[in-house]
């Protein structure tokens, strides 16, 4: 028998706020986390701005032992640890345990190890000093580094998986955790994703000419999803994490319940029929959204809010068209839609988890966060969405069900259906 899966804790390290209270205030007030990065100008990048969390590395001493912190260089791991452990504490549980927590697993995603930290490794090896690298490189270079640090700190003993699906990683991690609980394999899953866009990853995106170039002097105005002046995305860094639990298990321990994961889907457009390494096959996207709805037993007209992928590239219009086709809703009838990327940029692997935290906050507090910088909405998009469904100010409204989707390189899609919890 399939189980109901609820969210009982959340943690977030976002460019516009670290921790739930700061992040909630930021997304309600349309606060941007996009900043000028002098180094990027010096490096001759076309884009000089990024979404960067105001993260204090020393703060990690409150999360892990000083022995573990000594020698920790992976920024992605630092972000992931804080988000994951904050989510854990937020769900009312202590960190310490003598024995493994067999009932709890972890699916945590990321893109790649911190390349900037790995530069030191490359320099040492090339300098014939490999023996000076020490014991802490492999654990941070391995793609499962962040997952290993989190599960080691908390003693998680169920399924431990590191997933990677480009920009769909975060939503996919949450979906995998949900499915595992739903089918009864684990009572609790700590899920999420992390991303640190170091200069090397950033430079590679810059070279693809997919980043914004025209708003370097006005960083906070640069991320402009769905607008006529949307000229590329702004890379962002951070992490998001959620504690998912089997409903009965959560009730038994008296956990506070934030929301329910009703269902979801992840698929690929196969890089066919218009889908490529970098572009989505619309048919794949539509199937993904519709499968998520079917899995959740939700009808398209029940969707109160779309938390889009909407990165501020020319793919925005096709994404909106795909949502419209998948839901069979258009114009006035189109759901309220927003893009968190207008405030924090595109956090790549971390996008899905940070945006899911934002989605659940909107469910809990009944509001739709603004699409900031939408001064000049693309008329082709407005034709599909109608004029009133892309809020530019925070809008108070009852949010019962959110569709949260992300689409990534490799033509991969992930969609979650999130709901207010109703016993």
């Amino acid at each position: 028998m399939s189980k109901r899966v609820v969210v009982t804790g959340m943690g977030v390290v976002a460019p516009n706020g670290i921790g739930l209270p700061a992040f909630l205030q930021a997304i309600q007030n349309g606060m941007s986390g996009i900043k000028f990065i002098p180094q990027y100008k010096e490096l001759n990048f076309s884009c000089h701005i990024a979404g960067l969390p105001d993260f204090s590395w020393e703060e990690l001493a409150n999360y892990i032992s000083e022995v573990t912190l000594h020698g920790l260089k992976g920024t992605n791991i630092g972000y992931g640890l804080v988000a994951a452990m904050d989510a854990w504490a937020d769900s009312g549980m202590g960190y310490e345990t003598e024995k493994p927590r067999w009932e709890t697993g972890c699916v945590f995603g990321n893109s790649t190890a911190d390349t900037e930290a790995m530069k030191n490794v490359i320099t040492r090896v090339d300098g014939k000093e490999a023996r000076k690298l020490g014991s802490r490189v492999v654990e941070q270079a391995m793609n499962s580094g962040v997952t290993s640090y989190i599960t080691g700190r908390l003693g998680l003993g169920n399924k431990v998986i590191t997933n990677s699906a480009a920009c769909a990683t975060g939503t996919q991690a949450i979906l995998m955790g949900y499915e595992y609980i739903k089918h009864g394999y684990a009572d609790r899953m700590l899920v999420g994703s992390t991303e640190h866009v170091d200069p090397y990853v950033y430079g590679a995106f810059d070279s693809m000419r997919v980043l914004s170039r025209k708003f370097n002097d006005e960083p906070e105005k640069a991320s402009r999803p769905m607008s006529l002046t949307a000229g590329g995305f702004i890379p962002g860094s951070g992490a998001g994490a959620l504690v998912l639990e089997d409903l009965d298990f959560a009730l038994q321990r008296g956990a506070r319940i934030y929301a329910e994961v009703l269902g979801g889907s992840t698929n690929s457009g196969g890089q066919r029929s218009g889908g490529t390494m970098t572009a989505a096959n619309s048919e794949g996207v539509i199937r993904c959204i519709q499968s998520a709805l079917a899995d959740a037993h939700v009808r398209p007209k029940q969707i109160d809010l779309i938390s889009g992928h909407l990165t501020a590239t020319n793919a925005d219009k096709q994404e909106i068209q795909n949502w419209s086709d998948a839901l069979g809703r258009k114009g006035k009838d189109f759901p309220t839609t927003n893009s968190l990327k207008s405030m924090i940029g595109h956090c790549l692997s971390a996008a899905g988890s940070i945006e899911t935290v934002a989605s659940i906050l909107q469910i809990m507090h009944n509001f739709a966060h603004p699409n900031i910088n939408l001064d000049d909405p693309n008329p082709d998009i407005l034709e599909i969405t109608g004029f009133d469904n892309l809020p530019v100010n925070m809008t108070r409204k009852e949010i019962n069900i959110v569709a949260k989707a992300n689409f990534g390189f490799g033509d991969v899609n992930s969609c979650l259906i999130l709901s207010k919890f109703k016993a």
Binding site: V67, H70, G71, R131, K132, G134
Partner: protein, 85 residues
């Protein structure tokens, strides 16, 4: 460098790798790095690398294998300092 001076420096080298600062302050020649100071065995490599930098010596693999307790650490480091001259 006297044995005591090497020991004083060794405490600083070991410090980042143990959470037990009280025990570290009171270590003797018999203190075992793994059993007593609860140092992760993988971190012994890091202590050796840090010691090499601290004392400006090179510790070969065979010598490193002998560095199990504080006394043997002092033996190896002292010998390498003497070799260096």
């Amino acid at each position: 460098m006297t044995r005591q001076e090497i020991l004083d420096e060794l405490k600083k080298v070991i410090a980042p790798y143990t959470t037990n600062k009280e025990l570290l302050a009171g270590i003797t020649e018999d203190t075992d790095l793994i059993k007593d100071l609860k140092i992760n065995s993988a971190n012994l490599v890091d202590i050796i690398i840090d010691a090499e930098a601290k004392y400006e010596i090179e510790i070969d693999y065979d010598s490193a294998d002998k560095m199990i307790n504080v006394g043997t650490c002092l033996d190896v480091i002292g010998a390498k300092i003497n070799e260096r001259g």
